[in-house]
Each structure stands twice: as C-alpha cells, then as structure tokens.
C-alpha cells in the first residue's frame, strides 16, 4: 500500500504544478498538505515515528486555526486534516471549537465539513455542543434545502438532550415539508429524539402515524424504524396497526411501489424486512393478530424466488416471523422447507443463517433439526469457526430438548447418534462450554431410560466410546470432556464386562501423566479410580498413584489420593461408601428450606452484634443509597408513605429504620445541615417554585418542628430514639393530612405541563384499575391512590388524569394516568431518579389492597 501511495504522491506535485499558474495557489499548497501528511505517514516504520509526525502535524494545525488570517476555506481543509488525525486516534480537541465555528459561519460547503467534523469529534454530552444549537436552529429555518438536510443529519447524530425542546417544533414542522427527503430525515431525527429522550416526543405519536401513511414510500419506510422500536417496547399498544402493516406489505410485495424502490428487481426489500420484523412482534402469542397476517406471509414466501441474496434476506425474516407468531401448520411446513434450503445451500452465508433459523426453530420442532442431522454433523468439520460454533450451540440446544422425548419414550433417537453427537459437542465446545451443559448431560446419562435394557445399552455404548477415545489421543481432548469421561468410566465401566477394571485404571492413569491435565481434571480422575479399582490387578498401579499424589501441593488432590488409598485397601468400606450407581436408591435428601436448624446460630450472632439478614432487594436499595443524597430523601419518603398506612406497627418501623443505615450517607459535610434545616412535608403538593410556598399555619409550624425532629433524629443519631420517633411521625402524618390538600391545588395544569417537560427521569407502568359501583374506574383508582398515598389529582380529562405529589422540597413527582383497556397506564416523571420507581411500587401496593 505504502508503495502505491508514495508513487501517487510523488506524481502529485507535478500535477499540482500544472495548475499552479491559476489564481489561488496559496490554497492549493494547503490542500497538498493532507497529501504530504499521508505520504509521510505511509513512509513511517514505527508507531513511535507516527506519533511524532502527527504531533508535529497537530501543532501546525493548531497554529493555523488560531491565526486570525486563516480563511474559512483554509479552515475547511484544516478540519479534514484534523479528521484524519482523529481517525488515527490522536486527540485534536483544540479544533473542536473551530469545527463549530465553521459550521456556524462557513458557506454551505464549508458548513458541511464543519458539521461533519462536529459529528465526528463530539459526543452528545460535550459542553461545546450547546454552541451548535443556534446554528442548527438557523439552518433548520433556512430556505436552502441542503442546509436543512445538513442540520437534520447532525441532530440525528448528536444533539444535547436538554436542548431538544428548542428545536422540536422546527423538526416537527418538517414532517409537512413538500420535499420527500426532508420529511424522511425529519422522521429519523424524531426517532433519534425518541431514543434519547422518549418523553420529549410523546405528544407527537400521531404524527408518526401520519408519516406511516405518507404518500412517499421512503417516508413510510423511515417511520418503520420508529414503529419497530415502539412495538418492541409495547406490542399491545399497536395491535390496531396490524392491518395497516399487512396492507403495506401486500402493496410492496405486489409491486405497487414505484420502480425506484426495486433492488435487483425485488420490490423494496429493506422495507419488506422491517415490515416482517414488525409483524412477528405483533403476532407473537396472539392467535387473532397472527390470523390477519397468514395470507401475506404465504404470499411473501411464494414471491421471494430464490435468485438473489436479498430475497434470501426476506425469506429468512419471513421464516422467523412464521415461527414467532401463533403457528399455522401449512405455513410451518413451507417455512421448514425453506430452512432446509438454507441449510443445504452451498453458499456459506445461507448455511449460517439456516443454522441460526434452526436454532430458533428447534425449540418448537426438534424433529426438523433431526432431518438435517447429517448436515449438522458435517458442519462440525467445517473450516469456518463461526459455523462450527453455531452448530455446536445448536447441538447443545438439541440435547437439552432431547431429554423430553427420551423420558416420554415417544421418540427415541438412537443412542449412538446421541453419544456421538455429544462427543463431538464436547470435543469442540471444550472449555468454552457452560458447566451446566456438562452437568445436565451427566444427569441425563445417569437417569437414563425407563427401560432397563435400553438404559444399559446407552451406558455401555458411552463407556465403549470413551474407552476408545482414551486409547486414541486423549491429550487432544478438552479438559471438561476428560472430566466427563472420567466420571462416566468411574460410574458405569463395570457395566461393560469386556473392559476390565485394570484397563480402565490404566487409561485413567494415562490422563494423570498428561502434561496439560489440570488439577481439577486430576481430581475427577482420582475419584473415578476410587470407584473403579477392584481386584488385585490394579493394586500396584493404584498404590503408585496414591504415593505420587499424597504428597501433592494441591490439598484437594491430596485428599482424593488419601481416599483412594484407604478405600482401595478396604473393599467392604468401599462398597458401603460408594455403592454402584444402579443399586443406589434415588436421592431423597430431606431439605429444611426454612433453615430452622440455623436459628440458634443466627440468634447468637445477632446477640453478639451481627447485622440482621437483609433480603437482596433491600441490599440493592442500600447500595443505591450510596449513590447520592436523593436516594436518601427517597428512603425518607418511602418511610413516610409507609407510615401513612394505618397498619404500620411500631416494631416494623423501628426495625426498618435500623436497617436503613442512612446516617452514614448523611454524614457527608454540608448536605445534612442544609437538608435538616429545611425539611418539608413529603406529600405537600407540587414544586415550591409553583406553589409559592404556602403560608405557614400553626399546624404547619407544628408539623414542621416535628419533621425537623424526625429528620434530625433520622439522619444524625437514630439508634436510641426509634420508638419516640415513631410517635412523632404518627402525629405528624395525622395532623398533616388536613393541611396538604390546599397546597396541592396550587399545581395547575399549565404549570404541570412545564414541569413535565423539565423532568428527565421517568417510568411507565400499567396498574390494575379499581372498580367501584358508584364511580368510574379511573376515579375509583385515583381515590384509592389519593387516600392511601396522598397524591394530589390536578385534573381529570375524560379517560386521562394528571396527578402530582412531592417528596421533599424540590422533589416533586408527576404522574400521568390514562385508562387503557383493563389497565391504568401511568407515566411518572420526576427530577429525582429513583422517585418514579418508588412511587410505582407504592401505587401497586395500595391498589393490591383493594
């Protein structure tokens, strides 16, 4: 490569000279600088030299960009050079600001390079990006379509999340733009917004629908990205669109789109692929919806004639869809045939996909895989590692699935195939295999068949196959496989009369001498020997093994060697300790799942000052606590919510308080003081900036004092006062119930909207509706919530309601509820990250009670 470039570059100067007579040669010399840079780089021999050169280059760029005489055009060229350096991994952060400037001030052409540099250099969290917002705003309003396009492209690549509201209306407006390309880019930009800040674009879902129905198929295609994502998150919400998607697919498949959308005479293949993906999401576990799409799926299968790569892509999606949705037998049959074609294909990519499809399908139809067993075995020998890996994964899956047919005896694959397959899997899978696969294989083998004769045959076959493997080249086998072999030989080799115990011990001994045997494997081997060694013939060998390993540095090995020594000398003891597996009773170990036998130990430990056991969710909560103060406030609120429920008893509270361990976190300087001085009632309505701080009534003052007391005791020294604290809190919540409502009403709907947009943490959840005789379900549910959790209902509009609550001052949480079928779809937002989740949890609990 370097040769080529060098030649080219030596040729360059003469070419450049030829145009040198023209005006603007100064610019030319700068443009050749990229050339000389590249030439120099390709001449280098070491990374170190490259580094030196690039550093030199960067410093020259640095000089020039900061020079006031540098024109925008030169700047553009400098940017390209900086892009080159960045691509090689060198930091050129000093150019970032100039990239922004170029996007801001350059002519269209320079602007394009500026935007490009910005999108390559910066990430969405970069502070400089804020400087770009105005430029984007301006360009979005430009009459030059190319500028609008550039702006849309850059916002879909990087845009600061917080600034989305500023440009959102402009981007939305573009959805109605007469030019198709602009509408299309606007759709994708909005999708990007949806990804990074879903709450910002919530209100324009209707516009997405409009984009789906756009007269231009390209715009429709772009909106499919959005729907694929939305449906993935919530398939239930878009079932009504199934018919639309089916109709669109019908039109596409039927060739109703303009010819421009054809690719190798296949109509809009990428759109077809996306539609099929969407349909499979919609039809999953839904017979009704699946019914709607059966016809078009059949048509797609039929239309996609096998002639080009891209039709295989469609077929593959189609097959996946057919196997995902509610099954229909004749479709499944066709899909199975299709998979067969993939698997048998001579094209390696198709084979790979066929295999992937098989892996997907065997879960429903293991027989299909068995049809292809020969191909599968062949593929294990395939030179492509990726194919090999896929196939061994498939085999593992098959094996798991085979447990059922074996047990039912409805379908018995032959033993030989099974054992051989597993041998292949173990040899290939090697160390990368999951341990549970090994375990389930061993379990399967030891449980075996119901029929004694079949069972014996399977085990004997396994023993024979392993003996011959060990007689071959055992050093080539992976450790895990050797462990399996050792175990099987130890347990079952006595079933095979033709192979004497001494032969087995000899073979096992060979494993001990192999250089690459790990001590884990050796442990398995020694255990197997202990089970096998019988009769005088093995004694000398066993003796020498014992001697070698009783002085091993590995304690486990030493232990096993001791066991081997003792048990091999005392056959009676051995028979008692290790009865042959077939005479063993099924294991029925009595298990005390309450662990009551540990009670004494626990109480002793507690008495000695150990911390009580915390269930994992609680530990996680505490872990989260260390993240920051907001969590502590959250705990505080949880506690308050907890307290407002009448059924809370003192003991529960005191124990939960002890567990909080909040004191530690609150010990951090500064914060505690500020918070303790101004604690505010937890459920006291909306944001203070909106509620204008309610005038303090005497009740308020009283409760405030109590809260201060509560807060200070909670945060500063809780241990001695938990009981008193409870009484305080109780009075507090009771007195406070009267005061909170009037402050709540201060949160107006309009303010609500502003607040909603400014909060970044959100959670969505469906809650069960409460049904009541004299009220609608929405009102009844809200009543329960307001009663139990003291939420404040701001407004109810038809089937929707907006609700607010507040934890501490500055920590409001807003809730939007909508009746959706049998559920109440709630959407919570708050500036405190953990608050929405916490509140959801309490809502669920409150509603469960009814």
């Amino acid at each position: 490569m370097s040769d080529v470039v060098e030649k080219t570059l030596t040729a360059l100067p003469s070419l450049l000279l030829s145009v040198d007579s023209q005006p603007g040669s100064a610019k030319l010399s700068t443009s050749s600088k990229l050339g000389s840079l590249i030439r120099n780089i390709t001449e280098l021999t070491s990374k170190h030299e490259e580094e030196k050169l690039i550093q030199r280059e960067l410093s020259s760029i640095k000089d020039q960009v900061s020079s006031p005489n540098t024109t925008m055009r030169q700047m553009k060229e400098l940017m390209v050079r900086a892009i080159y350096c960045e691509m090689l991994g060198y930091d050129s952060s000093f150019t970032y600001i100039h990239a922004i400037k170029l996007a801001q001030q350059g002519s269209v052409l320079e602007k394009r390079v500026g935007y490009l540099a910005v999108s390559l250099f910066l990430n969405e969290h970069h502070e400089l990006l804020l400087l770009l917002v105005n430029t984007v705003l301006k360009d979005l309003q430009s009459t030059n379509l190319i500028e609008v396009c550039m702006a849309l492209t850059v916002v879909s690549q990087i845009f600061p999340k917080d600034m989305i509201p500023a440009i959102l209306p402009l981007v939305e407006e573009k959805l109605n733009h007469p030019k198709e390309i602009i509408r299309r880019k606007a759709v994708l930009a909005l999708y990007k917004f949806h990804l990074i800040a879903p709450n910002q674009v919530q209100h324009i879902h209707n516009k997405f629908r409009k984009a789906l129905c756009d007269k231009d198929p390209g715009v429709m295609g772009a909106s499919l990205h959005i729907y694929l994502h939305l449906i993935q998150e919530n398939p239930e919400g878009y079932k009504d669109l199934t018919t639309s998607f089916v109709t669109i697919l019908k039109q596409v498949v039927g060739g109703k789109l303009p010819m421009d959308f054809n690719y190798h005479s296949v109509p809009a293949p990428w759109i077809q692929i996306q539609l099929l993906q969407i349909l499979s999401l919609l039809g999953k576990n839904d017979p009704g919806t699946s019914e709607i799409m059966h016809e078009i799926l059949e048509e797609s299968l039929r239309r996609a004639e096998m002639n080009h790569n891209i039709t295989y892509a469609i077929l593959y999606e189609c097959v996946k869809c057919i196997y995902t949705i509610h099954p229909k037998s004749d479709l499944l049959e066709k899909a199975a045939k299709c998979i067969g074609n993939f698997v048998l294909s001579s094209k390696i990519n198709l084979k790979y996909l066929g295999l992937k499809a098989l892996t997907y399908v065997v879960q429903q139809d293991p027989k299909l895989a068995l049809q292809h067993q020969m191909t599968i075995i062949e593929c294990l020998e395939h030179p492509d590692l990726i194919i090999k890996r896929e196939f061994s994964q498939l085999l593992m899956l098959l094996h798991v699935l085979m447990i059922f047919p074996i047990n039912n005896n409805t379908y018995a694959p032959d033993n030989e195939w099974f054992i051989q397959t597993m041998n292949a899997v173990f040899s290939l899978g090697g160390e990368t295999m999951q341990p549970d696969i090994t375990n389930s294989f061993l379990k399967l083998l030891s449980e075996g068949f119901d029929s004694v004769e079949e069972d014996r045959k399977l085990k004997v076959f396994a023993v024979n196959s392993y003996v011959s493997l060990l007689e071959g080249e055992p050093e080539k086998l992976p450790q895990r496989f050797l462990q399996v072999i050792s175990w099987v030989l130890g347990e079952f080799s006595h079933l095979q009369q033709d192979v004497g115990a001494e032969t087995v011990v000899c073979l096992l001994d060979k494993l001990l001498h192999m250089k690459n045997s790990t001590s884990e494997t050796k442990t398995w081997v020694l255990m197997a020997m202990t089970k096998v060694c019988e009769g005088a013939a093995c004694a000398p060998l066993v003796q020498s093994v014992c001697e070698t390993y009783s002085s091993s540095l590995d304690t486990v090995l030493r232990q096993r060697a001791q066991e081997l020594q003792h048990l091999s000398r005392d056959p009676a003891l051995r028979a008692r300790v290790l009865p042959p597996v077939c005479t063993r009773e099924p294991l029925e170990v009595p298990v005390d799942s309450s662990l009551s036998f540990l009670d004494e130990f626990v109480s002793e430990a507690l008495a000695a000052g150990a911390a009580p056991y915390k269930p994992s969710h609680q530990r996680q909560e505490e872990l989260a606590q260390t993240k920051g103060v907001s969590t502590v406030c959250l705990m505080f609120v949880c506690l308050m919510l907890f307290l407002t429920r009448a059924d809370v008893c003192v003991s529960q509270l005191s124990s939960s308080l002890k567990l909080e361990g909040v004191k530690r976190v609150w010990g951090r300087g500064g914060y505690e003081a500020a918070q303790v001085e101004t604690p505010s009632p937890p459920q006291e309505g909306g944001d203070p900036s909106i509620s204008h701080t309610p005038p303090l009534t005497s009740e308020d003052t009283e409760s405030k004092q109590q809260e201060q007391q509560l807060a200070s005791s909670m945060f500063l020294g809780l241990d001695h006062s938990s009981v008193t604290l409870v009484t305080h809190t109780h009075t507090h919540t009771h007195t406070h119930t009267h005061t909170h409502t009037h402050t709540h009403t201060r949160t107006r709907t309009r303010e609500y909207g502003t607040m909603w947009l400014s909060f970044s943490n959100d959670t969505k959840q469906n809650l069960t509706l409460v049904h009541s005789e004299n009220e609608g379900p929405l009102r009844a549910t809200l009543n329960v919530l307001t009663e139990d959790l003291h939420l404040h209902v701001v407004e109810i509009i038809g089937m929707e309601a907006i609700v607010a609550c507040r934890l501490l001052q500055d920590q409001p949480c807003l809730m939007h509820c909508r009746v959706h079928g049998d559920a109440l779809a709630v959407w919570l937002r708050s500036p405190v990250p953990e608050l929405p989740d916490c509140l959801i949890y309490h809502c669920q609990r409150a509603l469960q009670g009814h």
Binding site: T8, Y84, H125, S156, K192, Q232, Y263, P269, I310, Y316
Partner: protein
C-alpha cells in the same frame, strides 16, 4: 440499529470510522483494532458474519463485513438488523462510491474522507438506514457537489490530481476496489492480487 461503520485496509489502517454511539477515543481505537483482528484472520471462503467483539457490545452485536481487494468494509450492528440486508447495503455503499469516484480506490477514501462521509450520511442517518437506492443517494450527493463545484473552483484540484494519477499506468496499484459480479453472489471476490 447500526452501531458503527468501519473501513480499514489489509494492514488494519483505518480509512473511515463512523460511530453512531458514543465511545471514548481510546475505545474507538480499540474497537477498530479488535475488529481488524477478528476480520483479517478469516479466510475468503467463510461466511461474512461474525459475532461481535467484546468491546462493541458482546453477544447482542454482530459484525457484517465484506472484503474488496485492499479494503475491508465492516458494519457493526445489533441483533435487530438483518444480516443479508446489511450485506447488500455494503454492496450498495461500495457501488455508490464507485459511481461517485469513477472507479473508486483506496486513495479516494484517503483524500476525500469528507466526501465518503457525506455519501454515507445519505445512506445511514444516526444509525438508521435512510436510503438504499443508489441513484437516489447519488442524486443527493450530486446536488451537493454541484454547489461545491460552483463554490470551490481551484479547490477541486486534488480530485483532478487523483483521477489523473488513477489513469496513469501503475501496474501494482489496485485501480479500483472491484465490486465484481454484483448480481449473483455474496462472496468476497479475489480480484486484485
């Protein structure tokens, strides 16, 4: 979604890197190295898909690549993308480059990294496939180039220089990426050796 698009040559030198997700500078370089390492080890007659490397997201990700003469084109995508669909998208990309640069070669990618990015931006936007029709992409790029010609004047010289070099007789030099027989098969075409 497409997470990253990488082009590097047979020696692992990056020729274009575009990430649609934020990674640190170091991670990006590691991803390029790791991807090159994974891809370059593979024979010509194996499949064009790879399970993703560790850095770019583990098992949910896959690498789909094509190898043309001196260059590897690698798309790192998540599990929702269709393998074969992306494979053809790479083909569309390369064909488009070929049209725009008139027999594209590695040099074009070096000298016009910005143009290559612009072509790519018409095809993939923010990680989503925007346009798959080559003519449409070229139309968009042309519209921008027209403006460039009127604006640039002499700045177009390097382009002319490169194309002049391309037409000179340099036997060892791969003239173009050689996109080969586009209608039939996917495999990498061993062309210029």
């Amino acid at each position: 979604m497409i997470r990253a698009i990488l082009i590097f040559n047979n020696h692992g030198k990056p020729r274009l890197s575009k990430f649609y997700e934020h990674y640190t500078e170091d991670t990006e370089q590691q991803i390029i190295r790791e991807t090159f390492h994974l891809v370059s080890k593979r024979d010509e007659n194996v499949c064009n898909f790879l399970e993703g490397g560790m850095l770019i997201g583990g098992s949910d990700y896959k690498l789909i690549y094509r190898h043309y003469a001196t260059l590897y084109f690698v798309f790192c995508v998540d599990s929702s993308e269709s393998e074969l669909g992306i494979l053809d998208l790479i083909q569309v990309f390369v064909e488009t480059l070929d049209k725009c640069f008139e027999n594209v070669c590695e040099l074009d990618l070096i000298f016009h990294v910005d143009k290559v990015h612009n072509i790519l931006a018409e095809m993939v936007m923010g990680g989503m496939v925007l346009e798959t029709n080559m003519n449409e992409i070229i139309m968009q790029v042309d519209a921008q180039n027209k403006m460039e010609k009127s604006e640039a004047g002499i700045a177009g010289a390097p382009a002319r220089a490169v194309s002049a070099v391309k037409n000179m007789n340099l036997p060892e030099m791969p003239r173009n990426i050689n996109i080969g027989d586009i209608s039939i098969k996917v495999p990498n075409l061993p062309s210029f050796k």
